[in-house]
């Protein structure tokens, strides 16, 4: 199955400055292990919400909302697309990530409908 791992990093989500080289190196090492295990299908990091837009639909009406957005705890700072055998396997991998803050959410991707 595929899962999307959403990084809700709290304070980090909105930090404009990039993480330190040490943190990056640790993260890259972890990411490499994931690649070697055939887990990573894709990934990406997102710019802070100050550069983001939201579009709200209400019937025929469309409202554009400019960032930054207030609810930082729910803001996604990055994502991974993983190939795993189960949610539990995804959890096992994620537990080993070198993070010390934030919330990471694992969501199964809907696929193969009707098969």
């Amino acid at each position: 199955m595929r899962v999307l791992v959403l990084a809700k990093e709290d304070h980090q989500s909105e930090a404009a400055k990039p993480p330190t080289p040490e943190i990056m190196a640790e993260f890259q090492k972890f990411n490499e292990e994931l690649v070697k295990a055939g887990v990573v299908l894709g990934d990406g990091r997102l710019y802070p919400s100050s550069q983001a837009k939201r579009l709200r639909f209400d019937g025929k009406k469309r409202t554009v909302i400019d960032g930054p957005f207030a609810e930082t705890k729910e803001l996604v700072a990055g994502y991974w697309l993983w190939q795993v055998r189960s949610i539990d396997e995804a959890l096992e991998w994620l537990k080993r990530a070198p993070f010390d803050a934030g919330t990471y959410e694992i969501r199964q991707v809907f696929e193969f409908e009707g098969i």
Partner: protein, 397 residues
């Protein structure tokens, strides 16, 4: 005390198989990249013992060999590379040619894919006891044949790697077009095979055919969703809704094909097949397909591995590139081929070409024959439907 070479190897091998079998039960081990550490140590110690035994033997025959110069320290040899090598060694062992094909498949899925015996049985629609026996027997065969736990090199590596790739592709294909049962595709098997392929590509990044196989599987898997119609019926390549192809897998497949191409040497069989699949993946509509290039690629495949099945595929491409009559000429030369006697795709292809040439009656007979030859229920229904379409055409024509 380990006294002979064979025993040492058996021990190392049993320890590895045992360690790996714990994996699916206890989840992914705590330390990623080092989950074989304990057994790698075993192996290093065994290597030392083996070397000492050899040294003694060389001493006995009076030869002066400087073994000591390259002595191993078990603690320094255990790094990520060694763990990677162990994993690779295990893949080579599970796919050893001494084992029957279905035994290789079962052992690979169990030990490397981390599937339970029940899951494998479900995947291949056979009783759990059959798979359990297959695995037990496979392990016994490996022990009895004194299969060495190692990453082979030289000409042996080529041959052994071919067996590994074959096993992975067999698993993929059983998921991609199930040979038996109610379902036309079983995506879980495709996913398992793809993942094994991706792992192998990281373990053996300099092997072009590994990337070729990964490319082939990624591109074929990109069509999984489009290959099955609303009621589970197969949808053939040219009838598929290309918007349903998975662009992520296509992108990954094309990247893997490029990776294979960057490595030295002529294209191997998997890379060639991936290149054919890539021709379809790049075409946004069936009409945009580069059929002459596909014919050329099939020519190359036929040179490397001549077979009636390849000729049949080539005939299909020729029919698309240069017209159904040209394709039919080629197919007709294959009709007498004994190895294709029970191959349902021969009459299916012939029927298709005949139909394009408006020879509906002959086409119908071919589709009916094809339907009687396949064991897959949904595929049979598709062929029967095509026969019925021909009958309708006969009536109206």
């Amino acid at each position: 005390m380990v006294s002979d070479l064979g025993t040492a190897e058996e021990l190392a091998q049993d320890a590895l198989v045992a360690a790996l079998e714990q994996w699916p039960i206890s989840g992914v081990p705590q330390k990623p990249g080092a989950w074989l550490m304990g057994t790698a140590k075993h192996r290093a110690i065994d290597l030392i013992r083996r070397r000492q035994t050899l040294e003694r033997k060389y001493e006995e025959i009076g030869r002066d060999i400087e073994w000591a110069r390259e002595g191993i320290d078990p603690d320094t040899t255990i790094d990520d590379d060694v763990v990677g090598d162990d994993l690779l060694g295990l893949i080579f062992m599970a796919c050893h040619p001494v084992l029957a094909r279905d035994a290789r498949v079962a052992l690979t899925l169990r030990v490397l894919g981390g599937l339970t015996t029940e899951e494998i049985a479900r995947g291949f629609l056979v009783p759990v006891s059959t798979i359990a026996q297959r695995i037990v027997r496979a392990k016994r065969t490996l022990t009895e044949a004194h299969v060495r736990f190692e990453v082979p090199s030289g000409p042996e590596r080529v041959e052994r790697l071919a067996s590994v790739l074959e096993v992975i592709y067999l698993i993929f294909n059983e998921g991609y077009s199930a040979t038996a049962g109610e379902n036309w595709v079983r995506p879980a098997l495709c996913e398992d095979a793809l993942r094994l392929g991706r792992i192998l590509a990281e373990l053996a990044p300099t092997e072009p055919e590994v990337h070729g196989l990964v490319a082939l599987m990624e591109i074929q898997a990109s069509r999984l969703r489009a290959r099955v119609g609303p009621s589970g019926e197969p949808v053939l390549l040219l009838d598929q809704d290309r918007a349903r192809w998975d662009p992520l897998l296509i992108r990954r497949g094309l990247a893997a094909l490029e990776r294979a191409g960057r490595l030295a040497g002529a294209m191997g069989l998997y890379a060639l097949q991936a290149a054919i699949a890539a021709c379809h993946a790049r075409a946004t509509t069936p009409a945009a397909t580069d059929w002459p290039r596909i014919v050329a690629l099939y020519d190359a495949v036929a040179q490397l591995a001549p077979s009636p099945v390849v000729e049949l595929n080539r005939a299909v491409a020729v029919g698309m590139a240069f017209g159904p009559a040209a394709g039919l000429d080629l197919v007709d030369t294959l009709v007498a081929e004994p190895s294709l006697k029970a191959y349902h795709l021969l009459p299916a292809v012939r029927g298709d070409l005949l139909r394009k040439l408006s020879r509906s009656e002959e086409a119908r007979a071919e589709f009916e024959r094809a339907a009687s030859l396949t064991e897959n229920v949904v595929e049979r229904k598709l062929l029967q439907r095509r026969a019925a379409e021909c009958r309708a055409q006969e009536m109206s024509g």
